[in-house]
């Protein structure tokens, strides 16, 4: 079995839940349509060229990552900032805890970051009694609800405004409202105090710009700008793959990111942060750190083909395009990343043996690759991972029956007469009463009718036709 029964059950429940199905399908449809409008040839004639450029820049950067990491570090330090390398979530946490302890910080604010979701940073900090408050509206709701993000760019997409009202009522003192505008104002009021109180602001990074030693962050709410400038210390936590060589490369990536993610031409705010406040400047943090995290990424770098998984700029377009994500939603994927990109990076970060079903949760329709702004060949990587899963299972002695069936199939494909005979026998068996209740046929029959094989196969009909000529 590729999947644990409880995982199968959860997926069945999600698919059978009309409320979540409607919310999921319509929310992803909206994002999908908005994207299609702004990347259409009339709106952006150079779209395909931009994708090719983005792909080339990422390929080049990852092939020379050591050089760019050094350049980035040197430039950050030249501006008075500091670069910290972390092998995993534990090391990221240790660094933040250590700094908080030294500076006597009791509370910190955070802007949206999938990288910190990946390492469960909030839970790790809370465990050490350091409060971390999410300030992106969606993430704030998710944090109050003790939930996890459902979608890379729309973390609370599965919650209705009534759900949000329930969460606020339970956790805050404000009077209940189901109006999204008023709910946003409640969050804003509550968060404003946190911004002023926080000793550290933690952000992610959309891009690390090597030639400028800068962190580039895009957002729509202004909370990332506050997070990175109001508290006296700013720590950006980023995967090493977020690197791009030059500031001018942003001209390619910024055009693609907002369009692919939310269908915007640009996000409302684009921040370019390159160090602590300098003499004579009115704002900005006194201390600036960039934590460069590995957490399995260098293992991917070693594989020339699958390395492209690291090109991802986390726009979420593949989720909205994926017919499987649109049915099973975000929470059925293990780890922080859901959808097609999650199905290829999670198994590579954590090893293929842990959730071997992930690369198989795809009809290989290719919709993800079609919308990917950096042209990651997701279906190809899924196929490669499937191969690895099957090799791993063979080595453990798992999946014996299926493997033997395919070995038999492979053996027969080279023996046309036996292949035709097997077809004839198989067809007769499939026509027998009760055949639809066995093996894969029963799985098929659980949701649709089983087709009956023809009484005479094509090859038999053709032979008769040729004889009668």
């Amino acid at each position: 079995m590729l999947m644990k029964p409880e995982q199968e059950k959860q997926i069945r429940q999600t698919v059978a839940d009309p409320k979540i199905q409607l919310a999921l399908y319509s929310a992803t449809a909206r994002l999908k349509e908005k994207r299609e409008e702004v990347v259409a040839p009339e709106a952006l004639p150079e779209y395909q060229e931009l994708r090719t450029q983005a792909n080339r820049i990422k390929k080049h950067t990852l092939e020379n990552l050591d050089v760019y990491l050094e350049e980035f570090e040197a430039n950050v330090e030249a501006h008075g900032g500091k670069v910290v390398y972390a092998r995993n979530g534990q090391e990221v946490t240790d660094f933040i805890l250590g700094l908080a302890r030294e500076r006597g910080v009791k509370m910190l604010v955070k802007s949206k970051s999938m990288t910190t979701e990946e390492i469960h940073l909030n839970e790790r900090l809370e465990h050490h009694h350091l409060e971390a408050v999410e300030t992106d509206l969606g993430e704030y709701i998710i944090q109050l609800a003790h939930d996890r993000p459902y979608h890379i760019v729309a973390p609370a997409v599965h919650m209705t405004r009534q759900d949000v009202a329930d969460v606020f009522e339970k956790n805050l003192t404000d009077p209940r409202t189901e109006e999204p505008g008023k709910q946003a104002m409640i969050a804003r009021r509550n968060l404003r105090e946190k911004f002023l109180e926080a000793g550290i602001g933690i952000s992610g990074a959309n891009f690390l710009v090597a030639d400028s030693g800068a962190v580039c962050i895009v957002e729509n709410e202004g909370n990332a700008r506050l997070t990175t400038t109001a508290p006296p210390i700013h720590i950006a936590v980023a995967g090493i793959e977020k690197m791009i060589p030059r500031a001018r490369d942003l001209a390619v990536f910024l055009k693609l990111l907002a369009r692919s993610g939310t269908g915007q031409l640009l996000t409302v705010y684009t921040s370019f942060l390159s160090g602590p406040r300098r003499g004579g400047e009115a704002d900005g943090p006194a201390e600036f750190y960039v934590v460069l995290m590995d957490n399995g990424r260098t293992r991917l770098l070693a594989d020339a083909e699958k390395r492209q998984s690291l090109y991802c700029i986390r726009c979420g377009a593949c989720l909205n395009a994926c017919p499987v994500y649109r049915k099973i939603g975000g929470h059925n994927y293990p780890g922080a990343y859901s959808g097609p990109i999650g199905a290829i990076i999670t198994p590579q970060y954590q090893g293929i043996a842990k959730d071997p079903w992930l690369p198989f949760a795809s009809s290989l329709c290719g919709a993800c690759a079609e919308v990917c702004p950096v042209k990651i060949d997701i279906p190809k990587i899924l196929l490669d991972l499937r191969k690895e899963v099957m090799e791993d299972r063979a080595a453990r002695g798992d999946g014996f029956l299926e493997r033997k069936a395919f070995q038999m199939y492979g053996w027969l494909t080279r023996r046309p007469k036996l292949y035709a005979l097997a077809g004839r026998i198989g067809a007769r068996m499939a026509r027998a009463p009760g055949a639809a209740s066995m093996g894969p046929a029963a799985k098929w029959a659980s949701v649709r009718e089983v087709p009956l094989p023809a009484r005479k196969s094509f090859r038999d009909q053709w032979r008769e036709r040729e004889k009668s000529k």
Binding site: L2, I11, R12, V15, A16, Q21, Y25, P323, V324, K327, I328, W357, F360, A361, S362, S363, L364, C365, G366, A367, E370, L383, R386, K387, E388, V389, M390, E391, E402, R403, F406, Q407, Y409, G410, L412, T413, R414, P416, Y419, A420, G423, G426, A427, P440, K443, W444, V447, R448, E449, P451, L452, P453, A454, F458, R459, D460, Q461, W462, R463, R465
Partner: protein, 241 residues
């Protein structure tokens, strides 16, 4: 002497929908081609390839290459199987191997049926008549790997008595996906039901595609749902008079 084409009849067509293979041969003959069916053909290897069994897929691919290496054109009633040969055989063999070279040589000559008509035979009107409202389902591998989008629609528009209506979700996957359909039956079924809603909204009575496996999936869900819809392969429509 008419040009000769070889046909590759996919497993699904051979066993479940032989009428599709017969219809394809008929349309090709009507377009002036001599059709041959090489009896020692078996499978393209896609079931094994997509499920992660490369070694078994390589056996099928090697056999395919041996059977068809000297054929001028190999016409296939499936975008998915055609793409397996023209795109993914290259993933199966190491770059410097003789099989890789042969796969490269074979790739441009393995052509999906509708594309053969529009791009090689250069016919759009095959003299067919079919009374009814029809909607076309873009099968994923034909659309995204072979870039087949307009050809089948042009062929359908030339069929007398046929009205073609577009569904909103034409490009969305039917949910088949080979072994995906039995590894994740609930998800697969739900995907097909989304498609069904989009098809019903067009008022069409028949769904046409160039891949029988998509149609097998859709027909199974239509029948289960009691929807009064029929599925037909493009070849069957084009063979109708």
């Amino acid at each position: 002497m008419p040009a000769r084409v070889s046909i590759f009849v996919t497993c699904v067509v051979d066993q479940l929908f032989p009428r599709v293979g017969m219809a394809m041969a008929e349309v090709l003959e009507r377009a002036g081609y001599e059709v041959e069916f090489r009896e020692d053909q078996t499978c393209c290897g896609q079931p094994a390839f997509n499920t992660g069994y490369r070694e078994d897929a390589r056996k099928a691919a090697g056999h395919f290459i041996r059977v068809f290496r000297d054929a001028e054109f190999i016409v296939v009633p499936s975008g998915s199987c055609a793409s397996m040969v023209s795109h993914h055989f290259l993933d199966l063999f190491p770059k410097d191997s003789s099989h890789y070279e042969e796969a490269e040589y074979l790739a441009p000559r393995v052509i999906e049926f509708s594309r053969f008509l529009t791009d090689v035979a250069k016919v759009e009107d095959v003299g067919a008549r079919f009374e009814g409202i029809v909607t076309y389902h873009d099968s994923c591998h034909a659309l995204r790997e072979l870039r087949i989008k307009e050809g089948p629609r042009r062929l359908l528009r030339k069929v007398r008595g046929l009205e073609l209506r577009e569904m909103s979700a034409a490009e969305e996957c039917c949910g088949f996906g080979g072994t995906f359909s039995v590894k994740f039956p609930e998800v697969s079924g739900a995907m097909a039901r989304t498609k069904l809603e989009s098809i019903l909204a067009t008022g069409a009575s028949t769904v046409v595609s160039i891949d029988s496996s998509c149609l097998m999936q859709l027909q199974g869900v239509f029948t289960r749902a009691g929807a009064p819809l029929k599925t037909m392969h493009l070849a069957e429509v084009l063979a109708s008079r």
